[in-house]
Symmetry: C2
Subunit: 405 residues, 2 copies
Amino acid sequence: MPSGADTLLLELFAIFVWAKIFGELFERLSLPAVLGEILAGIILGPHAARLIAPTANVYAFAEIGAIFVLFTAGLETRPQDLLRVGRQSLRVALAGVVVPFVLGFFYMRLRGGATHEAVFVAAAMVATSVAITARVLADLHVLNARFARIIMGAAVFDDILGMILLAVVSGIASGGGIRWLHLGVTFAEAVGFALFMIFIGPRIVRRVRPGLRHISLQNAPLVLSLAICLLLSWAAARIGMAAIIGAFFAGLVLADYAPEWRLQPRIHAINEFLAPFFFFTIGARLDVHLFSGDVLLDAFIISLLAVVSKVVGCGLPVLREGRPTALRVGIGMMPRGEVALIVALVGLQMNMVSQSAYAIVIFMTGFTTIMAPPLLRVLIRDQSGGKGTAAPALVAAREGGGDGA
Amino acid sequence: MPSGADTLLLELFAIFVWAKIFGELFERLSLPAVLGEILAGIILGPHAARLIAPTANVYAFAEIGAIFVLFTAGLETRPQDLLRVGRQSLRVALAGVVVPFVLGFFYMRLRGGATHEAVFVAAAMVATSVAITARVLADLHVLNARFARIIMGAAVFDDILGMILLAVVSGIASGGGIRWLHLGVTFAEAVGFALFMIFIGPRIVRRVRPGLRHISLQNAPLVLSLAICLLLSWAAARIGMAAIIGAFFAGLVLADYAPEWRLQPRIHAINEFLAPFFFFTIGARLDVHLFSGDVLLDAFIISLLAVVSKVVGCGLPVLREGRPTALRVGIGMMPRGEVALIVALVGLQMNMVSQSAYAIVIFMTGFTTIMAPPLLRVLIRDQSGGKGTAAPALVAAREGGGDGA
């Protein structure tokens, strides 16, 4: 019998169970379960206890797990709801890119870093990683709240802006300067993709829907939904966006038909199985040994700047919606993720960034990722009567209907 | 953005969609969808059209897909139902091992093959691969019928016997003879595992059940079920059985609580997503170029012997249940799978088996795999009033309740 299956199964079992055990412990401490899953990865992963070193196959499951986290979030976001907050989301995303970049750049220059290094670290502070926020919002059943919609919308814009910034930065770094034409095409593709998904995608689904009756396959709506999810995730990655943004669009496109097709409980189940591998590997990637003395201090300051800049940059544009909403949006946009790590890695490979600056970016990513969920949870729980939130009872009822079927 | 995610997503999308398109075409031709999924792999795979060459990551998804096919089948099989057919299943498995081995051995000797080669080819004809049969039975909603239970029970015994045979054959082949003590331990482990799962496993779940109320995690029953599935699959592989048999046991252990915990629609959804990768890769592994002239004739005869020997060997012991049941059991036990391929591969690596004998085994595996689903379907559809089948209406109602929730 093949021993390959053997190790893969043991790995998946160990990761799944440890992630869930840590999740349960965190739930009992009134902390978000997702944070427990990440911590399980940090503690048991290859940089600390070395109990579990995820293999390439596990990372593949993790990638698809991230897809389903955003697909699930998308399914609970109707396009018209997203459009209603479109202007706020755009403002949040824009300011949320500018403020962190400026703060990061000036701190790194002040500290004596070279201009190109400062540019890379600043660029790494820009892109929000929405997977963790989406999971926390889903766990708290507030994905339908107004501030949650602003966050999800801003995440879409943010991803487009982050992509452009990455192209600009690596263009500068490669010495070839900025290739404006290429940049323009990339930008147009991303905007076109987003507009198509929001305005035309749902109409296509509406047109296709009656045809499903003629399909002989069992579970035709589920099969179609999974195919759309994989297709849009791939398409988003293909044009240079994050694959998970494509998965979010797939959910968005199908959101209106999710109750009719009973998608939520089924997609939730797939998510329940695959997502722990994603969150565990986030933790497993974090090397706690990179930090010492000066680097740690810089890392800490940059992390605080990363938090403050997003809270200010993303919170201010929606201050008129009330302080609770502004704060939640700011904190929700706080986590940095794979884009930050890629920017830093590109810089490292091009010798534009030192090992210590690289470590700083990794620390900042971990710090913002780990701080966001408990803060978000406290804000939402404590101020659940605040402006901009759907009444808890209503949300619970709606969620229960989708989840429990 | 990482291009790794990009290719993985494209691969998963292409395989998923092509498998489903072929499945739909086959459904429309009143052939089993699973056969279409396999054919998609043969045609588009690396040995024919070369459109899709599955990577290691896809094979990992395929392995877990096979796990969920058997987990789903197990969830619809209550332990007490399996026990009721235990004696018949054991007889079916025993005769289903002896008859193919004898027929295969004598044909290969007759044809002029060496004794050790004949032993390997004969051994490859023994082990039933139940994943395909389980899927066909599930598609036709007859997993609860008596003949289906006999098949699933026999598959468990068959796997234990096949494992012993593999140990014997590779012991002989390695020149060290048979290590009786090791063999005895392996046998005892497998039997102990099976008995534990059937008699004690469900009791443990019954004991644990009230404790679930105290767990704070969302979807605690689903999480527990997934953990049990991964654990038992790994444990089965660990003691030398097929991992999928462990997954079947996991389903069996949980079958009594599946309705209460609403497991079916959720596990079905995961299965719906992952299983196509398994069936597609079965097809993709099949190299159609290995066959020419003499080899093709031998391959064809061995394939026919493989069919006849299982139909006779597995059918005769249950003839008193009526001819329809006997025929269904025989055909249901017909597909050979990964164990046959492993036996042949071990023989090839030890220079005990020629390239042509290896090709013959591959052909036989493909032939039995491809012939079983349409035959099974015709038998079940045409004779659905026959002895040993639950009334179709009843089965449909039961299935609809589990599936549609």
